[in-house]
């Protein structure tokens, strides 16, 4: 078990390192003109050279990478070209907003997803299962922006139940912010619910076909006990991993949703950074998202191991 934890943490670090290298390389090596982005089109060659030197762009690639990495680890993420401000506080503030949205979305999505997936799996082939499968398949097929716009136009503009915009004043409390969070989180929750629900269903069905279920039934246990004591314990374990994977999906979805609802999250900042070709900002934003995602996977792996005797006791 200790070896397992060590291995997972090692892989976590290795993955982050490789990812950062790849992202850094993509940003630095690919043809992109930082000077024009910062100084504008008509800049003097001398000013350009000075800027290159100031930003360390004249150094070899790996030195640049090492400098950036050590800065990143020390909390010095550089300055944004477009906003001309330090990146870290900006990104962390927006990250906080995004996490708030993500948290509400997951709270809305996960309990019903697991429950519905479970019910569908237990009733495989029956009308409920067929309906669930079809609806979830459609739900997975609706892009977040379509869903978001429908919700804005129907719930907010036609029915006037909730505010259409999600821009929250920075000093608003969670309670004040909540109504504005509901529509965007519902949008994110829709895909999440369908995805996690489908995967839970598949897990339950696979588990029901295992031979130990027959053993349990032929012991004379009531079906309810077979399901809750024997099947669920094994069927819900993979759901932990599924939830971790769906966080990656959520991060992508939030980029779109934040733009639909004009929500001041990390995703919206990223789209802005791209439009401005603000490379340090892109780098900082991507790396923090990747870290969050990798961390979620790490936690899921460790949780899975702790709950699974086959890993825990090996």
């Amino acid at each position: 078990m200790i070896a397992y934890i060590f291995r997972r943490v090692l892989f976590f670090g290795l993955t982050l390192l490789l990812t950062s290298l790849m992202v850094f390389a993509a940003v630095r090596l690919l043809p992109g003109d930082v000077e024009t982005a910062v100084l504008g089109r008509g800049a003097e060659p001398a000013a350009r050279a000075a800027l290159r030197q100031e930003l360390g762009l004249d150094l070899p690639f790996f030195v640049q990478y090492a400098n950036w990495l050590s800065g990143f680890l020390r909390g010095d993420w550089g300055k944004s070209y477009a906003i001309k401000a330090p990146i870290m506080p900006l990104v962390l503030e927006r990250l906080g907003n995004s996490l708030r949205l993500a948290l509400v979305a997951m709270l809305i999505a996960i309990p019903p997803a697991v429950l519905l997936g479970l019910l569908a799996g237990l009733n495989e082939g029956k009308p409920f299962d067929t309906a669930f499968s079809l609806i979830s398949l459609v739900l997975v097929g609706i892009p977040e922006f379509v869903m978001g716009i429908i919700l804005i136009n129907v719930v907010a503009l036609e029915w006037k139940l909730l505010p259409p915009s999600a821009s929250v004043p920075p000093d608003a409390s969670f309670g004040e912010a909540l109504p504005r969070l509901i529509l965007p989180s519902l949008t994110a929750a829709a895909v999440l619910l369908a995805y996690i629900g489908r995967m839970t269903r598949v897990g339950v069905i696979a588990e029901l076909r295992r031979t130990y279920v027959r053993t349990a039934v032929l012991k004379g246990l009531p079906w309810r006990q077979v399901v809750f004591k024997h099947v669920l314990r094994n069927a819900l374990l993979p759901t932990i991993t599924v939830i971790a994977i769906s966080i990656g999906w959520l991060i992508s979805g939030l980029v779109v949703i934040e733009n639909v609802f004009a929500y001041p999250g990390l995703g919206r900042l990223m789209v802005f950074a791209i439009q401005q070709r603000d490379l340090p900002l892109i780098l900082g934003g991507v790396m923090i998202s990747v870290t969050v995602f990798a961390l979620a996977n790490l936690v899921a792996d460790l949780l899975y191991a702790a709950l699974n005797p086959r890993i825990r006791l090996s």
């Binding site: 290795l14 609706i142 892009p143 791209i274």
Partner: protein, 299 residues
Amino acid sequence: MRATTRLSAARSTPTLRLNLTRRGRLLRRLWHDAPFSVIGGIGVLLFLIVALIGPYLTPYHPTANSLPDRNQPPSLVHPFGTDNFGRDILSRIIHGGRNIFALTGTATLIAVGLGLVIGLHVGYLGGWLDQIVMRLIDALLALPALLLTLVLLGALGNSRFTVLVAIVILYVPIVTRVVRSVVLDVKTKAYIEAAEISGESRFHILFREILPAVLPTLAVEGALRFSYAIFLVASLGFLGLGVARPEPDWGLMVSEARDWYALSPHMLFFPSAAIVALVVCVNLMADGLRRLLEYSEVD
């Protein structure tokens, strides 16, 4: 010469017939078990046909402005109505569909092809190569899809070509992983070892012995990738990324229609419906393919 041809014809016919009746039986069974996935498959086919021949049938040019016809509701002249520039929405959707198919189709095919070749090799050869490639893939997959696309759009520039590159980079690792897992399963089978101990070439083992077993799973995965690619391209279009205005793009059409919702809701409805219908149809088709795969495994 003639004798050999006849011989081989005689040999191949029963197999062919067998496969056809088998396929027919499987399809009937699929229709019985999951009629929606068959409908989905037909839907995808319809979209494809419209994308292929539709542009020759539409009376309007997709980018032709016509200010007098602005914001027309659906009518016989403009079945899907017109937008705020008076452009025919049906024509724009058909052309946009063509663009989406061309872009996502090409990208998916490249990604599936590359992923297949890499997955076959990595899975079969194993060892350090496998370790390294898998770590790289883990690192790539640690990047949420849209973020990686954004990075590439930022670095390579905001163009359709970048989107294509991004989809390929996104999906090659995923396809590789899927192919590799099938290869890992197949390569321990005795028939692969039987080929090895007869000194068969690596090419023969990879592409003649292993590949056929990978293809069904690859078809399912390809369909799924295709659906996600459409999803991704539509999302990017909505964000105004990777599109070449005024070329019609479904995502961009949705985005632009937002401001006109009160006046002409059809501007929002039709492109949204097109995206959802296509993605759902592809998903249903993928589900059907997966079921067919399960049937053949059970048989």
